[in-house]
């Protein structure tokens, strides 16, 4: 360039004098610079966008279904909806090869009411809405009073199911009597038919109607509850599927409840988690059914209130305080 400078100088002067030519070069240069700036800006912007969209590796600990603790990048988590039809069908079918059975030891019940609270918490019920009732019993004037928790008996010959006109309440292969609140029309035939008064009716909007809005209905938990339908004890069918004891059974502080599978001839105490042979437990303690003369064949056994060496009003005596 420098070599050419001397030779081209007169031309340059000429050109600089020429207004049109200098404007053209100016615009030419301006165009190049402008295009470069635009391209650069676009590149920076694209880079910024890419940085934003890039996964940020923020890990979340997740417990898998088979109890393994794994880490997953936060942005990789996808919320999935439960397969509603499948969940509903497995709720109707029940668990194959099981026959759930509950044993209630009346000798140990002190009306601590923990079972009731756990049940109401799980099924979103008000403090005066019961799936389990605890009744104060006295056989005669001269015998000692005792408390009797009374959940649904999950009869093998359920009169409540027979009267349902819409197939909303049903018995499953594992013996649990459930109710589908989405089918129930609120006729309350089942409430009238049940000899154990185990069913309740939602006269008012359920307790957590706002919080449960949009939640998928779980037939094995009866949540969200629905106004104008019947609700009842479910033997905590959702917990059994996970291999856990029902809410009431594991909440009892006094070892009243035993729960297990009749096919395995074993029941586990909810408080001590000790496992016993069902047939032996019933034989040794003289287990019995409630109102067997009705032919309802309940799945709940009672052990008689023997050797109760504490006051009936002493609710906390066994809490080892």
């Amino acid at each position: 360039m420098n070599d050419n400078k001397s030779t081209t100088e007169p031309e340059n002067i000429k050109k600089s004098q020429d207004g049109a030519d200098s404007r053209r070069t100016f615009f030419k240069r301006f165009g190049i610079v402008g295009a470069a700036a635009a391209a650069g800006g676009a590149a920076i912007y694209a880079g910024l966008k890419y940085e934003e969209s890039k996964p940020n590796h923020d890990f979340v600990k997740v417990l898998t279904a088979d109890n393994k603790l794994v880490e997953v990048p936060r942005d990789q988590i996808k919320k999935i909806k439960l397969d509603e039809i499948r969940v509903k069908q497995q709720g109707r079918d029940g668990m194959a090869g099981r026959r759930w059975v509950m044993v209630i030891d009346l000798a140990k019940c002190r009306n601590a009411r923990k079972c009731i609270q756990a049940c109401q918490g799980a099924h979103h019920l008000r403090p005066y809405e019961y799936h389990i009732n605890t009744l104060l019993m006295q056989e005669s004037e001269n015998t000692a009073p005792y408390y009797m928790p009374k959940p649904c008996q999950h009869c093998d010959n359920p009169p409540c199911v027979a009267v349902c006109p819409v197939d909303a309440t049903f018995k499953r292969q594992d013996g649990i009597v459930l109710i589908d609140n989405e089918r129930c029309i609120g006729c309350r035939f089942c409430v009238a038919a049940c000899p154990y008064s185990a069913r309740m009716f939602h006269w008012e909007e359920p307790l957590m109607v706002e919080g449960d809005k949009g939640k998928e209905y779980n037939i094995e938990l009866n949540v969200p509850q629905k106004k104008g339908t019947v609700s009842k004890c479910l033997f905590s069918a959702d917990r059994l599927r996970e291999g856990k004891l029902p809410y009431c059974v594991s909440a009892c502080p006094n070892g009243v409840y035993y729960f297990g599978d009749e096919n395995q001839d074993a029941v586990t105490n909810g408080t001590t988690k000790e496992t016993f042979s069902l047939s032996e437990l019933l034989k040794i303690n003289g287990g019995y059914h409630l109102m067997p003369e009705l032919g309802t064949k309940p799945r709940v056994y009672y052990l008689p209130p023997k050797n109760r060496l504490f006051d009936v009003n002493d609710a906390t005596a066994n809490e080892k305080i």
């Binding site: 099981r98 923990k114 013996g175 297990g260 395995q264 809490e319 080892k320 305080i321």
Partner: protein, 300 residues
């Protein structure tokens, strides 16, 4: 005068009440120590166990998100929990009180110690004291249990062996427990048995032991003394039970069952009644037709 009397009575009641709420741990339990040193691996295992068994009430340690129960479950990172000795935490978790469940039948001693190691991870000032190693010869390494089914006399034979001087040798005098695994817990079979000089203990199996539909039973054999034998156990399935098959409870035809399981007597009665009503209507129609025909014949 009378007021101050009431005041002292009130204070007096509190003084009497206060120790009643304290959870007193027997001295020999309170001084118990973990048989192994707490490390990152025990803390990791403890975290998993904590989340499964404790978190639902005690919340996340240090986050103060415990469930509002009466009495309030303490946060594991709090001074109230950390003020306990290792042995005291172990005792309270194992025994339980009131709403705190007992874990002695659900968690093994080693798993409970792992949870304690996880809890201690939230205490910077904690220095662990490890239980003294048992005298040489009193603890065993690489303990193995094996189960053999002796069908002719209904006995399960459990053989215990351990490494000693780099040679696998039978262990005599080991106390063993045998369980059958059930859906919610382990059912003990018979009493605790002690191994003989050949390292063998025998458990009599009841003849009516129910198995699944093929008679398969899951057996679990464990050493009672975890400090000497570690977590040695044998977990096997064997076809030693009585096959149990009971049909599903909603299989029979009954009034309460679904439409396609209607009882035959109901189907019969229903169809007879329907046929009778329709039959009567058809009969009347037929008679009317006969009358009409005879009338038209008469007219012609």
């Amino acid at each position: 005068m009378k007021r101050s009397y009431l005041f002292f009575l009130f204070i007096g009641l509190f003084v009497i009440r206060a120790p009643a709420q304290e959870w007193i741990v027997p001295a020999e339990n309170g001084s118990k120590l973990s048989p192994f040193a707490f490390s990152d691996s025990t803390r990791m295992a403890g975290a998993v166990l904590y989340n499964l068994n404790c978190k639902s009430c005690h919340g996340d340690p240090g986050m103060n998100n415990v469930v509002k129960l009466v009495p309030l479950p303490p946060d594991p990172a709090s001074a109230k929990m950390q003020g306990n000795s290792d042995g005291a935490i172990f005792y309270k978790a194992a025994e339980g009180r009131g709403t705190m469940p007992s874990f002695k039948n659900t968690l093994t001693a080693s798993d409970t110690w792992r949870i304690i190691s996880f809890i201690r991870g939230f205490n910077e000032n904690y220095v662990q004291e490890i239980a003294k190693k048992l005298a040489p010869g009193a603890s065993f390494e690489q303990v193995k249990l094996s189960l053999v089914w002796m069908q002719e006399n209904n006995i399960i034979q459990v053989a215990v062996s351990a490494l000693k001087d780099r040679v696998r040798q039978p262990v005599a005098g080991a106390e063993l427990k045998l369980f059958v695994k059930k859906y919610f817990g382990n059912l003990p079979v018979g009493e605790v048995q002690t191994t003989d000089n050949k390292g063998i203990a025998l458990f009599h199996i009841p003849k009516s032991l129910p198995g699944d539909s093929a008679g398969i039973v899951r057996l679990l054999a464990k050493a009672v003394d975890e400090t000497a034998f570690g977590e040695a156990k044998a977990d096997t399935s064997m076809a030693i039970g009585v096959p149990v098959y009971r049909p599903p409870l909603n299989q029979e035809r009954a009034l309460w069952n679904v439409g396609r399981k209607t009882p035959f007597w109901l189907l019969f009665t229903y169809f007879v009644c329907v046929l009778a009503v329709w039959g009567f209507i058809f009969y009347v129609m037929l008679q009317l037709r006969v009358l009409y025909k005879s009338d038209s014949i008469n007219k012609s």
